[in-house]
Chain length 210, copies 4
């Protein structure tokens, strides 16, 4: 007797999320250039047809996957930069740092997706637009926060724009190293390196943590 697979019907949103998660896992495991619709749908335990039903094309599925990861990150970061709950700039900066090295953000699969798309972004305007490091809004908010800290601390000779560019680059680089050589660089050490950077810039706000 054949055991037929149940043909379960679920709302569009649930299906899309299932497929996006499967895509994230597949990219992390096999790399962007080895992704196939068959691989993704198999990982999701679904049929090939359903991916096209909900996303229309592979290109769309990838785009939406990138957007999903990027958006999740952006919302988290914005929440910290804009939230009213932080009593002072110091707490806000520390919260941002904690976020950047939280297990959620530095999850291997997520970072793998980031860098997979970064690798293609240069030649694919669509990707570039989405992951736009130049998440200009966030960059400005970060710079403003740093500018505030500079004023509060009376730090002379500090340029908020420089510091923001430096901090942004530093965490990107640390993530890359976390992804490629996790044995050489632990998450804890990476965070300490970033904390150092901030402590150096804003000694009155952030303490070095050795």
């Amino acid at each position: 007797m054949k055991t037929k697979k149940k043909r379960q019907i679920l709302p569009k949103e649930v299906r899309k999320e299932q497929l996006i998660h499967a895509t994230i896992n597949c990219i992390a495991r096999h790399g962007l250039s080895a992704i196939t619709m068959a691989l993704v749908t198999q990982e999701a335990g679904l049929s090939i047809g359903i991916a096209n039903l909900h996303f229309e094309s592979k290109e769309n599925l990838l785009r939406e996957t990138l957007f999903y990861v990027t958006d999740e990150y952006n919302r988290g970061q914005r929440k910290i930069l804009e939230s009213e709950i932080y009593v002072d700039t110091s707490a806000r900066i520390q919260a941002l740092l904690d976020f950047h090295f939280s297990s959620e953000v530095t999850k291997e699969t997520k970072m793998a997706v980031w860098f997979a798309f970064y690798g293609e972004a240069n030649s694919r305007p669509t990707y570039q637009k989405i992951c736009s490091l130049s998440d200009t809004e966030a960059a400005q908010a970060l710079e403003q926060m740093f500018a505030l800290a500079i004023r509060e601390g009376g730090y002379l000779n500090l340029d908020a724009g420089f510091l923001a560019a430096g901090y942004t680059a530093l965490i990107d680089g640390l993530w890359l190293n976390l992804l490629l050589a996790p044995k050489q660089l632990s998450r804890l050490k990476a965070k300490k390196v970033a904390q150092h950077y901030l402590a150096n810039a804003f000694p009155k706000h952030i303490v070095r943590q050795d």
Copy 2:
């Protein structure tokens, strides 16, 4: 009137380099996942067959291209870290910084290749081995140089390992930002950010450049 192409015969090494350069350009322009043998050979102005004649497979061509770019970089860096021509640590550190932001190293096509492969490295041991950020040798040499600077400068509380990890991550991140958003971050600004980092760490060796 048809202009028939002359069939030129050249030594293997020349052909391989032609093809590697074509591959670099194609990766920068179209992305790693859009690379085809036809694209590369067309870019090189050669026939499809010749790539397989000299590299045996696409996989090999890509591997050797990555190695070419990586090796060029590694040799440049090692030369600075090991050369006897620098009168003092200060000069050596400055030379390294100059190298890291030289037009040769920060050439768009080269950086595109780096990050294209980084994006796949996680799922491809072969790539990971080659680009091994953890170019362990270089990492150690860098750390030793920083350690020497720390001793020379009597900088207290500084950990050479931390600084090296930070500096490495910082330049990786800056390159990434240079690649993805060159309009937001100029090469000059990127270099200043890195110089800042070093000046902060080793004030007696490196001067801030505003």
Copy 3:
């Protein structure tokens, strides 16, 4: 006006058989070394993709085609050698002969497949294993049947092994000649030649048919 082909869905087993039959025809018409997936699928009126979908590779398709033809033959022969329906050895030997020169076995396409693979068998262990002339079981059964006939007929000086080897070679050779020069050797004549051979060996069992 374009007549669009309907996309028909059929069970795997049906498709495989369609493709195997197409392969047999193509081998007969074009020869083993001229076989291409395009040729076979076109002959079957199907798309190129479907052959790989069901057989995974050309090599597999060929292997299964050889097995199909071989197996059909072996089963037919075994049925005769083992069946209980024959009243005596004489009837069984005659049935075998009839089978060996039946229109089914001596169909041109089938024989073409046999000899196409024989031609490659020497250098391809896989083929050799399948078509293994030395279908040892059948060879032994044939020898036993001949041995029985010898005892029954009181034929002196006859060696069942020799006769079996001779008969096997004779029908192989006759098939080859039927295939290569059908105008010179008709099926009827070929059968008479084989019948002669048996009548000579077992005069009390088999009558010469002139």
Copy 4:
């Protein structure tokens, strides 16, 4: 210092024979469908260019190889059938049998070539013409010789055409079995089987050899 391969110049006929022998070996070792110009010329220790220089095309090389093997065989057989040196029919028949199972004719490489081309002959008129089992001349000479033996021996009821067809098929089949299952059928046994056949037909001319 580079040791440059000597560019030896040899007459056309020598080169052609070198290449034909290499082709025979390659067919025996790799099968007809795996033959490439590179394989053959490498086996011959020559350059690819030279094969095209002397044979113009692969097709030609194969054709001439087949012709070489076929012709060699045909000349050997004709010599026996036409020579004046045999004192009687009996000796001539025996000589033919000896020839058919001589080490020269039953050499594995030669037989491999035969059957490789037989496998393709059905679909390639060129091959069929060359190897034409129907080497009509030889077939007729054989039949005439058998007819003579029948007259000499007063064998009643014997049909020379039948016997010739049977003998021809028998040796073809024996060769095939020698090629495909040399462990099951030795050259000696094969010859005995054929001798049996002749001894049965012409008891006064040929003796059974047990």
